[in-house]
Amino acid sequence: MKFALFHCCVNAMGLDQYFSSTSSVLKRLGIEALNLREFNCCGYPLRNFSFKAFVLASARNLAIAEKQSLDILTVCNCCYGNLKYISHILKEDTALGEEINATLAKEGLHCESEATTKHILEVLHDDIGITQLRARLKRTFRDLKIATHYGCHILRPSKITRFDNPFKPKKFDQLVALTGADPVSWLTKLECCGAPVAGVNDDLSMDLAAKKLMNAKKAGADYLCVSCPFCQMQFDRVQSAIIKHRGSDAPLPSLVYTQLLGLCLGLSPQDLGMETNILPIIGIQQFLGEKSGDGGHHCVTPG
């Protein structure tokens, strides 16, 4: 399995741990993911400003992957949703495609939407599969309650992403359950974390994050698990701001899925960048036990 690895600008901005944990996990699982230096921002923030600039940004990335005949593997929900959306509309609207390709041609690039975009959760769940992954685990968690946060753009708009059932998704929960953790059911699970308006409308952003955190804590979660750098920033840095400015009870730390899985694959906390989280997640290791026979708790059907 070989991919062009697409990290997110937000990872580069301040989430070294998502970089390191992803590389470590991919290496352990024997997935080759090339860092293509030419990749640029997927264009997500540009969409608020200029539609064409947004399309051009993602089209360029698709063209770069296409040139190397590689599919894109991304670790960010927003990048995933955007790359898939652009890939879709360029196929549908030939006039737009021609315009974009005229600009790309100046660099010797061309986009035919041939490169597929995959999210790391998709590759882990669909391409490798739970059974195969289970065989690779060295340890599993015990008595650990995880609030699984899907994030928005991996599920919606479902006609574009086609990752999972948008109203009753299971895949991320199954991946979490695989590690032996118990994915709790919580009401606001599928809500947006509020990151898109962080820095724009902080009150709204913090309101939304706070609601989710309260609900997850009520459901008994020990940690949040996310699959997107924006969500991780929100639940790590913005939660810290919420605690600082609004006061709050105990924080609910968040970690990215590759960190959760990585621990069970036997990778070290250093490889997974665990010390770089603002709200500490080091404590999750106390839930690690020997690998249990059946792979841990059964997956609770999320509701």
Partner: protein, 584 residues
């Protein structure tokens, strides 16, 4: 006499320029915080920083950086081996020439007892250095003007650097070539250095030189008889060989001399040796005098910045030292374009014609701002947009060959630029995430003001009161926008809406408020409805457009497959266009 005078004048100009430049490192400032720090504090803190560093273990790190980054330029090599080769040739060749040729009086002449500029290895190395520089300059020209894929932007400073080096090298090689063939030069040398300069001796020597060593003598041409040549050889070995290796070793100069050999007499007639000598040293002195004001200052500022940024603890450094460092950084930029090549959002330049989107093109504006110059409204708008159209991924910093912390420069400049009265719509996008993180989402005036300003500007400052007042009439706007929306990829599905209100009920923003209309203006279902009825003032006056998360709950729940979230994106884009042009 003229030589000494011009040397001293250019040296004086160079030193004065350097002093002035260094003073600007403590006087200029970028950023609101830096503005508050007096120059005296900047100088004192810098001195303190330098002393503590030099007398600490950090000096070992400085040495390592000096070898790896300054001499070997490892950063550049990792990023772009072509650019590394180009620079190593120029810099290596130039250093060789500067130390062993230009400053030979202080180096080679002292170290090597039998030094003469025309003896090997010095003779060959001089030409090697010049050829290295010229080769590097050719690579530079290719890179800047010919390469198809990525051509960095080139300005007057870049051209000057290439031209002054070319002038020095070319004049030097031409001078060499001219001196090799000049009959007058040869004659003078023979008369000065032969123990017994009688005509017979000179003729034999000249014959030997013409046959073997490339000299030209009018009236003395081959074929020569072997006795004359043998005599000449003996004279050469006794009087000349000590100082003269075969001129063929001056590869470049010798090649030139072959080209101009047929015109040797004209060379003397036109006084070329003297002219070229003057051109050569004047070019060198011009380069020296102008150095502090040109791109060549990077020979000092580049290493300085590389070393500072390796040992400076950016979290604990004082604001004064951070401010000073930024001024040195601005002078270390060599406009190589590596940052622009790797910039994550440079792709937007393909659609938005603002050069300041490119990191390398932001630097000149920042220099002007730091110097306290007043920018024109257009320049301000341009640099402001460029500063905020940035994903803050920090790739620019990682690839900069001199290690400038570019993102920190953008952050410092942003706040001082955005206080001017031009609203910045890019603030209302996820580009603001980093700004929020840097400020800690603290809601302070300084932080909120530009946000509130642009929110007001983009909504036309209209209040929702009149819309919520059911007694006041609604305004029906022009139809042009309606047809635009019907044709647009993002918005065309609006006409399928049957106002079931599911979208607004699914919206987490709407559900965050007890009285949503008061906070967000029109709710999603109302926005869609208002499109069909052309209530543009209500639509673009709604904060909902900018509070929208783009989470797609609305679109996912819509029973009619109306692409609600996409429509809101289209409305956002139009709102920004309308900020500058109401007729859109």
């Amino acid at each position: 006499m003229f030589y000494s005078m011009s040397l001293y004048i250019s040296l004086a100009l160079f030193l004065l320029g350097l002093v002035w430049k260094i003073s600007t490192w403590f006087r200029y400032r970028l950023g609101i915080e830096a503005n508050q720090i007096p120059t005296s504090v900047r100088i004192i803190e810098a001195a303190g920083g330098v002393i503590t560093t030099l007398f600490s273990i950090k000096i070992l790190i400085l040495l390592k950086v000096f070898v790896l980054e300054v001499i070997l330029q490892a950063r550049t090599f990792r990023e772009d081996s072509y650019r590394w080769l180009m620079h190593i040739c120029i810099y290596g060749g130039f250093m060789l020439l500067l130390v062993m040729h230009g400053l030979s009086r202080f180096t080679a002449e002292i170290i090597f007892a039998d030094y003469y500029s025309t003896v090997n290895p010095f003779l060959f190395l001089r030409d090697l250095g010049a050829m290295g520089v010229i080769f590097g300059l050719l690579l530079a020209l290719l890179r800047r003007f010919v390469h198809r894929r990525w051509r960095p932007r080139t300005n007057a400073m870049d051209l000057y650097a290439i031209l002054i080096l070319a002038a020095i090298m070319v004049s030097g090689i031409l001078l060499e070539g001219v001196k090799i063939v000049s009959p007058a030069v040869f004659r003078n040398m023979a008369q000065d250095y032969l123990t017994r300069p009688d005509e017979e001796q000179i003729r034999s020597l000249t014959s030997y030189w013409v046959k073997e060593l490339g000299a030209v003598s009018p009236g003395l041409q081959g074929p020569f008889d072997s006795k004359t040549i043998e005599e000449g050889r003996i004279i050469h070995e006794m009087n000349c060989m000590q100082c003269h290796s075969r001129p063929q070793w001056a590869v470049a100069g010798y090649a030139v001399s072959r080209l101009i050999a047929p015109l040797a007499e004209d060379v003397d007639e036109k006084g070329l040796p003297d002219i070229l000598w003057h051109l050569h040293f004047l070019a060198c002195f011009l380069g020296l005098a102008y150095l502090p004001f040109s791109k060549m200052l990077h020979v000092f500022t580049g290493p300085l910045v590389l070393m500072i940024n390796t040992v400076m603890n950016h979290d604990s450094a004082t604001p004064a030292n951070l401010a000073t460092r930024q001024m040195i950084e601005l002078d270390a930029c060599v406009h190589c374009g590596a940052c622009s090549r790797r910039c994550s959002v440079a792709v937007a330049f393909g659609e938005i014609p603002n050069e300041s989107i490119l990191p390398s093109e932001k630097i000149p504006s920042l220099k002007a701002l730091a110097a306290g110059k007043t920018l024109s409204p257009h320049e301000l708008r341009t640099i402001q947009q460029g500063l905020f159209l940035c994903s803050n991924c920090n790739r620019c910093t990682l690839v900069c060959p001199v290690g400038i912390r570019l993102r920190d420069l953008w952050v410092s400049a942003r706040e001082m630029v955005v206080v001017n009265s031009v609203p910045e719509p890019l603030l209302l996008s996820p580009f603001s995430l980093y700004r929020g993180l840097t400020y800690g989402f603290n809601g302070q005036i300084q932080y909120r003001k530009p946000l509130d300003f642009v929110r007001n500007a983009v909504t036309g400052g209209s209040s929702m009161d009149h819309a919520l007042d059911s007694s006041s009439p609604l305004y029906f706007g022009p139809k042009k926008l309606l047809s635009n929306l019907s044709a647009s990829i993002q918005a065309k599905t609006f006409s399928d809406c049957y106002v079931c209100m599911t979208c607004s009920n699914a919206c987490p923003v709407v559900r965050n408020y007890r009285k949503p209309n008061e906070i967000v203006g029109l709710m999603p279902h109302q926005l869609i409805y208002a499109i069909g009825r052309r209530h543009w003032d209500l639509i673009f006056g709604s904060m909902m457009l900018w509070d929208c998360l783009g989470c797609y709950q609305c679109q996912e729940h819509c029973p009619q497959n109306v692409q609600v979230a996409d429509i809101l994106y289209q409305l956002k884009n139009i709102a920004i266009l309308r900020m500058n042009d109401k007729s859109v």
